[in-house]
Symmetry: C2
Subunit: 226 residues, 2 copies
């Protein structure tokens, strides 16, 4: 694991995690937490903008193999936790499986790893081999738009990381543009999620705690030439 | 303005803004940025889960007075920028104006202030007085669910702030619960957005740069007692 992180010890130093740290505050519900395990999580919500949204979501869940991740849903969102590549694989596949021609749909998500408020449980880390939905994701060539906001936490010198993430988007032909509070990209569903996976992989190399917030949408009716 | 922030100078020290800093990197599009102005922004997307989503969104935009903020929309999201209370007022009113009985709808947003990659333009800061949609927001008593993830950036000692934000939710009767990567709350549309406004006000007192990511939804078909 990366520097500064041991189980059940508050993350000292320059961390500024906002998802609820305070591991040494006994009055807060996340008191005493922390994990050494390489758990990546993605909390996300799927929004098909159609009267038929329930069956689209349930249908997509049926087709998606989420056996390589731990999962929990509530009335607001679902969270997958486990090895990063399998978490991204499952989210990408769910989105691809929910795609329906002509239906405008978005997925809003946050990928998080290394939060000092995290726990060692609620995860699956025992799987190996090819991601179970790899073929589905590979076939997801439908065009999509996306935006991302990346928070590398707890490090002073993060500019090179941010630059790498920008250049990676350029190299991948995702046409990044800078907008207030985010970076916008465009590409296929497959290429965008592959990029998110690689952004996360980059972050793992240099920061112990990061959060990537993203939106991806398809079949938008908005005509931006207007 | 708060410590460490002057125009066009990179934020030194422990900042770990991920929305694209690197003000001294001439190869990046946000080179040379920074602002002293008290601009708060909210980038958000509205998701009515119905075939009728376009007319719901356009209808809500028609009814919402966004004259106290600067605004720009694209195919993914809209951003409002200006004084915090007016930004939150406009977003809350848009959501309240879009509410339709029986229609499941969500709004996903990020409130941001103090990013060293920010600019002084694209904002309205000249307005005073009562927020233009105050009556609409006050009347928004419909029940809603929400989650929030708060990132106070650039400070070492933020735990007290996070604790205050948690306790504030308890005091307001919003029944906060800790979930992976976020805090969940429930209350009326009005009370939830009032809370978001107050969280942002708290953050302004102690950190120069924060981001609050949130989701709010209404009329969810999910039965959590199952």
């Amino acid at each position: 694991m990366t520097e500064g992180q041991t189980s059940n010890v508050p993350f000292e130093g320059v961390d500024s995690c906002g998802c609820g740290c305070g591991c040494n505050r006994e009055d807060l519900p996340w008191s005493g937490r922390g994990t050494d395990l390489p758990i990546t999580g993605c909390r996300f919500s799927l929004y098909p903008m159609t009267d038929d949204f329930v069956s689209i979501i349930l249908g997509a869940l049926d087709k998606t193999d989420a056996s390589f991740v731990w999962s929990q849903s509530d009335a607001l969102s679902t969270v997958y936790r486990g090895k990063r590549e399998y978490v991204i694989d499952a989210v990408a596949a769910l989105f691809a499986n929910a795609w329906r021609d002509g239906v405008h749909m978005a997925l809003e998500g946050q990928v998080s790893r290394g939060c000092p408020g995290d726990v060692s449980g609620d995860s699956v880390l025992s799987c190996e081999g090819e991601a179970p939905n790899a073929a589905t994701v590979e076939a997801a060539t439908q065009p999509a738009l996306a935006k991302l906001s990346l928070y590398p936490l707890g490090v002073e010198d993060y500019i090179d990381d941010i630059a790498k993430v920008w250049y990676l988007a350029e190299e991948r032909g995702l046409n990044p543009t800078s907008i207030h509070y985010a970076t916008r990209i465009e590409g296929s569903i497959r290429d965008i999620f592959t990029y998110f996976n690689d952004v996360c992989a980059l972050m793992e190399q240099t920061v112990s705690h990061y959060v990537l917030h993203f939106t991806i949408n398809v079949n938008s009716p908005t005509d931006e030439e207007e």
